[in-house]
Amino acid sequence: MAGIYIYSDKGPLAAELVGFAKTTGKAVNIVTFDQNSAASAAEYGADKVYLLAGDSLLVENNARAAAKFLMNEEAELFLVGSTPRGRDIAARIAGYLQCAMVSDVSSIVINDGQVSTERMIYGGAVIQSEMIDGMAVLTIPPGKFEAASGTAEIATVNINADSRVSLITTAPIVKKGVDISAADKIVCIGLGMEKKQDMQIAQDLAQVLGAEISCTRGIAEERQWLPQYIGISGETVKPSLYLSMGVSGQVQHVVGMREAQIIVGIDINDKAPIFDAADYGIVGDMFEIVPLLIQEIKNI
């Protein structure tokens, strides 16, 4: 059946995409690949839930069969939650269908069968708007739309999953600590901090401020000091205060925090781009500035 098809490996995000899809007046269908997800998805307010049962432990292995399904159903639009799995299966399906795909869209407008989208390019420095005629695959990050709810019937379709990639082991990532996307104040450390034990000054500052600690990608992914980081490939935060030390402030990082109410940068290099993004800045050595700052705040 024509209409909008939706997939996300994160249930709540699928419900948000249903919330958007329903505003178009088109039929709204959710695609799932396992029994449990289908059962939850049946409560997200879609018209129908399809369980494409293919027996693979890797969701992405269903791409080829899902593409065929969408083609047979004459899907008009395929909306996928932007997560690593979501982006992968979405792009593989777009590849098999040889159709348009726009990743991580920040806005969608549908008019007379034409789809207009906006997304960020150049690390967040530029907003690009695009127009598509015909079938499109779009990936959409969480938090853009109100989730829908309501009961749908589940239809099971047997498919043949692609078995060429096999899962050997899965190790869950246990994210310790608070979720920084909800933090009211954030102290952010960057690669300017060279030793893990130096994180203590950031912790001390965070404590007097009542802030959480976060970081840039390199601190989280290369050095693995902290679980979450801010930026285009990390978290988006909207605190009342974002204060950084040893963060150069390149656009891929700044894009994740530029909605903060007040941005403060401390960096030794007066040319660091963080100062263009900041309300207040101090050019100086964090090991000199931050202890003084802690003392001054304590003195209030």
Partner: protein, 256 residues
């Protein structure tokens, strides 16, 4: 013994983007570079080619100015470079790019592995790798943080948002690597000199025998995100005075 292809994109440096008064962008002053994370893809391909005892070949689909990228790419270790020189590159969407890259891979015989980066510095669409895999109808492994190759089998660790998966596939395959997969070293002077002697294959899009290379998406506009901040930077006086100024302002803002 097969070839390992490293896909890289030649992109303007986003730090050099100038913003016009109407918020359109000016790239005329920008320096161009190999997309940041593609340096890790090239390094991964060089390492994989060593294990497979095959050749590492860099592959780019770019316009005339991508000629300057070839020596840079080769100085990072590949044995050969392939450049699809086409004006279509500047306006190519994911469909066109994946179609062209797939055709180029098919044209090179005996390819074992194609390695892309997680995402390009300009688009960061994280789209091309799975799309290219679908075009070739090869197995795809994305978000790879660790690779080991044994015989004809690739075993990869995938870093996802909620877990780390270990997966396996038989070659040929298409993979995308995260920048954390390796340290891409700066090329040595010796490597830079050696690069100029390495073979380069230049092809036009017409040489690939593709009939339809029309983008499925049409770009309507590109507007700069304009940041409006106070930009009050304390540089005068000693550190304590600066800190006092900052704290005074944060109090006024109602933050402290």
């Amino acid at each position: 013994m097969g070839k390992v292809i490293a896909c890289y994109k030649w992109v303007p440096d986003e730090a050099d983007i100038k913003i016009n008064s109407d918020h359109t962008i000016d790239l005329s002053k920008a320096k161009w570079k190999i997309s940041d994370y593609d340096k890790n893809a090239i390094e991964a391909a060089v390492q994989a080619a060593q294990v497979l005892e095959g050749k590492a070949v860099s592959l780019t689909f770019g316009g005339a100015n991508a000629k300057s990228s070839l020596k840079d790419a080769l100085s990072r270790g590949p044995d050969e470079a392939c450049w699809i020189n086409s004006d279509l590159a500047s306006e190519a969407d994911g469909f066109v790019t994946a179609t062209v890259l797939a055709a180029a891979v098919r044209k090179m015989e005996d390819v074992s592995l194609v390695i892309c980066a997680e995402g390009a510095s300009d688009t960061y669409a994280r789209q091309i790798t799975p799309r290219l895999g679908a075009e070739l109808d090869w197995p795809v492994i994305t978000s790879v943080s660790n690779i080991s190759i044994n015989g004809n089998t690739i075993r990869a660790e995938r870093q996802l948002d909620d877990c780390i998966q270990t997966v396996e596939a038989e070659l040929p395959a298409v993979i995308s690597v995260l920048p954390e997969v390796n340290d891409a070293p700066l090329p040595s002077l010796k490597a830079v000199i050696a690069a100029s002697k390495k073979p380069v294959t230049e092809l036009g899009d017409k040489d690939l025998g593709i009939t339809d290379l029309t983008s499925k998406t049409r770009v309507q506009s590109q507007k700069a995100y304009v940041m409006i901040r106070k930009n009050i930077i304390f540089t005068e006086g000693d550190a304590l005075d600066q800190v006092k100024e900052l704290v005074g302002n944060l109090k006024k803002e109602g933050i402290l």
